[in-house]
């Protein structure tokens, strides 16, 4: 199955060593059993919906999905941001400490479409990401969606144009960790003040969730953008470019 790591671009579509007959038969059998389970056994009537509805008013937000993600099961979300961080650490180039966040590079060929896209679309995406984050409390939306949009804007802004983000700079790393760090800090502080991990006091729950979500959005955005950029320049090549500080 994974014995051979096949990297031949024009290689055969199928793994020549795998046996079609056995695989198809076993997967089909599997499928049939699972379908039988779905057809013959009823689901649990309501799942956890009654519990969520019962506690929604004290969660600080009115969107039930956000309430589950950032209040009832916030611990899962915290660990999930850690998963993202693992991948970023694994793919970031071993760093060179003395560099600033954003660099200016000389562009030889101006692509009119990309430049105008960058000029017009990126701010709009930025705005929309902010809206998604803010709306997440009451409507569909939230940190992950906003973060992904922001990452798209980052890629658009920085990969094609004049500016380039140095993802190994201390600033970029702070942005990547701020989501997890803020989550952990709030969680531990709440042990001290409220007596339990991630137990938001009811009056401040909305504010704290928004705070954590903002940090998470920034982190997710820059993490996803760095994943993209590290895939593009894998053999870390130096840019003969003028440095420019600030973000």
């Amino acid at each position: 199955m994974f014995n051979q790591i096949d990297l031949e671009y024009n290689g055969p579509v199928n793994d020549p060593k795998a046996s079609w007959l056995i695989t198809v038969c076993s997967v089909l059998g599997f499928l049939i059993v699972l379908t039988l389970v779905l057809l013959n056994y009823d689901a649990h009537n309501a799942g956890l919906r009654p519990y969520v509805e019962g506690s929604l008013s004290s969660s600080g937000v009115t969107n039930p999905v956000t309430a589950v993600l950032l209040n009832f099961r916030a611990y899962d979300t915290l660990l999930e941001i850690a998963v993202l961080l693992i991948v970023v650490i694994a793919v970031l180039p071993l760093r060179n400490a003395k560099t600033s966040l954003v660099r200016c590079i000389e562009v030889t060929n101006h692509d009119l479409v990309l430049t105008s896209l960058q000029r017009w679309l990126a701010p709009a995406v930025l705005m929309f990401a902010g809206y998604l984050l803010w709306a997440g409390a009451t409507q569909p939306g939230g940190a992950f969606q906003a973060g992904a949009l922001l990452a798209g804007a980052c890629v658009l802004m920085f990969q094609t144009g004049v500016y380039r983000v140095n993802y190994t700079s201390i600033m970029a790393r702070s942005l990547m960790t701020c989501g997890l760090a803020m989550f952990i800090a709030v969680g531990l502080a709440l042990i001290w003040f409220e007596g339990s991990l991630l137990k938001y006091p009811q009056d401040y729950a909305g504010v704290l969730i928004l705070l954590i979500e903002s940090g998470a959005t920034l982190s997710i955005a820059i993490c996803l953008a760095s994943l993209y950029s590290s895939l593009i320049d894998i053999p870390g090549k130096g840019h003969a470019a003028t440095s420019e500080s600030g973000s």
């Binding site: 660990l79 997890l180 952990i184 969680g187």
Partner: protein, 499 residues
């Protein structure tokens, strides 16, 4: 503040490694890096010891529960510890301390340490989070943390073979987690909850649970690398940096094993059958023989040790048929489970010691080929001694932890009337002796080589590297004398048979 109890420390042992990872990621390379990480490991060790003492002091042997956000079980996530998880956390704490000291010396002046430390701590956070988790979906997230960070650590060397091993390891890990997630979806559909205790309480409605159990078993067997699914393990464990190899063999495969045992004996114990457990036992038996044979044929020292892991994992799977027969209902409390728990601990310490000493030998010799080890005992007597002690434990000779573990297995299989497992265990020991004596006889062979070029020995391995391996070997020996201690942590004292 309310009186301190072991459950209050549960979030701390998850968050401390996470904080250490963040610090490691933010800090640049400096001279304090090693000390800082050893400090974190030491604090974690102290917390774990405190937790174990408190847990044993509470003496009820009930599981301690920590409700995150005080939401409580079905809605929120509960952290739960019982005897088994306290033991695994304790094992993680001890091994983390020793391996961190080793890693600090191993990565003392290597730019890769920038990537190593955060990944290392995230892996440990994942392990700790897994061992305290009481929620099915949370376990999925923990499995992913462990799988991704372990694959990233294997890729750390950036050689072609290690990248290939890491990619294969990553894909297998992702596939295993997806199987697990599918099972969770089915369980949620029929039980309407994700809490393990509540699933266990409402368990036993036939086909859905059995299908979920099959999916979980397949997924986790992929991650544990039981015999037909072991294909990824030797390359991944052999091509990782030495401290990573040690933790992969000692703890990471055990983490998936922990989840499997938890589901098999606690959560879905109603859906397991005698036949299924016999299948697992047979696969374990084949793994013992096959892994030992491949280890005997291995050309590289680390590949040999990795195949030995495949074989040793087979012993733990004898737990399934043995405990099934013991009391007609499968429960994780009989003498078979004691044997398995003891085996997990013994193998973790012995295999970690063996990987560390092998890493030292390879560092000193400059090559991982077994043929190059000829006569190394004169130059690296301590490391060869450590290797020998670990080997003695793996073979199961007295006085070592491995001896007690095998003894428990043998007595259990005789008690339960399944004598055929005795033959498997004994022949496994013989095969282990074969491949380990092959190494040792080479190491003590001082005759001059006839044709081959003598490799110029590199610098002797540093004192820290050697002594941390030595500590592990001594722990392995000490465990052979203090069997009751381990068994009492994991279970209420019932009198260990045969000791």
């Amino acid at each position: 503040m309310t009186s301190l109890s072991s459950s209050l420390l549960l979030p701390i042992i998850v968050f401390l490694p996470l904080i250490a990872a963040l610090v490691g990621f933010m800090s640049s390379r400096n001279t304090f890096q090693g000390q800082l990480n050893i400090g974190f490991a030491f604090v974690q060790f102290l917390i774990v010891v405190l937790m174990a003492i408190l847990f044993l002091d509470e003496q009820s042997y009930q599981s301690a529960v920590y409700q995150i956000g005080t939401w409580g079980a079905p809605l929120g996530i509960d952290l739960v510890v019982d005897g088994f998880s306290i033991l695994m956390i304790g094992l993680t704490g001890v091994l983390t301390l020793i391996l961190t000291i080793y890693g600090a010396a191993y990565y003392a002046d290597d730019p890769k340490s920038l990537r190593f430390w955060p990944l290392w701590w995230l892996l440990i956070a994942g392990l700790n989070a897994l061992f305290v988790s009481g929620d099915a979906f949370n376990i999925y997230v923990c499995l992913e943390i462990i799988g991704l960070s372990a694959a990233a650590l294997v890729a750390l060397q950036s050689t072609r073979t290690s990248l290939e091993a890491a990619l294969r390891y990553l894909l297998v890990g992702l596939l295993g987690s997806l199987f697990y997630l599918m099972a969770i979806a089915i369980l949620y559909r029929s039980h309407g909850t994700l809490d393990l205790a509540q699933i266990a309480a409402s368990s036993g409605n036939g086909l859905p649970d059995q299908v979920a159990m099959i999916l979980i078993t397949i997924g986790l067997l992929l991650k544990i690398a039981l015999f037909p699914l072991h294909f990824w393990l030797p390359q991944a464990h052999a091509n990782a940096p030495t401290p990573v190899s040690a933790i992969l063999s000692a703890l990471v495969v055990k983490a998936s094993l922990y989840v499997l045992i938890k589901f098999w004996f606690e959560v879905l114990s109603g859906s397991t059958t005698f036949g299924a457990s016999q299948v697992l036992g047979v696969l374990g038996g084949i793994a013992i023989v096959y892994g030992s044979w491949k280890a005997f044929r291995a050309k590289q020292l680390k590949v040999l040790i990795a195949y030995s892991t495949v074989a040793q994992l087979g012993y733990i799977f004898l737990l399934f048929p043995l405990s099934e027969h013991a009391a007609n209902t499968s429960s994780f409390s009989g003498s078979a489970s004691q044997a398995a728990i003891y085996f997990i601990v013994a193998h973790a310490c012995a295999k970690a010691a063996m990987f560390l000493s092998a890493g030292n030998l390879i560092l000193s010799q400059g090559s991982g080929d077994i043929a190059q080890l000829k006569g190394i005992a004169t130059r690296e007597p301590v490391n060869v001694l450590i290797f020998t002690i670990a080997g003695v434990s793996l073979i199961g000779l007295p006085p070592s932890a491995g001896f007690i573990a095998k003894w428990l297995l043998l007595t259990t299989s005789i008690e339960s009337g399944q004598w055929w497992w005795v033959l498997v265990v004994l022949s496994g020991g013989l095969l282990a002796a074969m491949y380990l004596f092959k190494i040792l006889s080479l190491a003590f062979d001082n005759t001059l080589d006839d044709g081959a070029v003598q490799i110029q020995p590199k610098a002797l391995s540093s004192k820290v590297l050697t002594s941390s391996a030595l500590v592990l070997a001594l722990i392995t020996l000490a465990l052979g004398f203090n069997a009751e201690f381990i068994l009492n942590i994991s279970h209420p004292p019932v009198g260990v048979s045969g000791i």
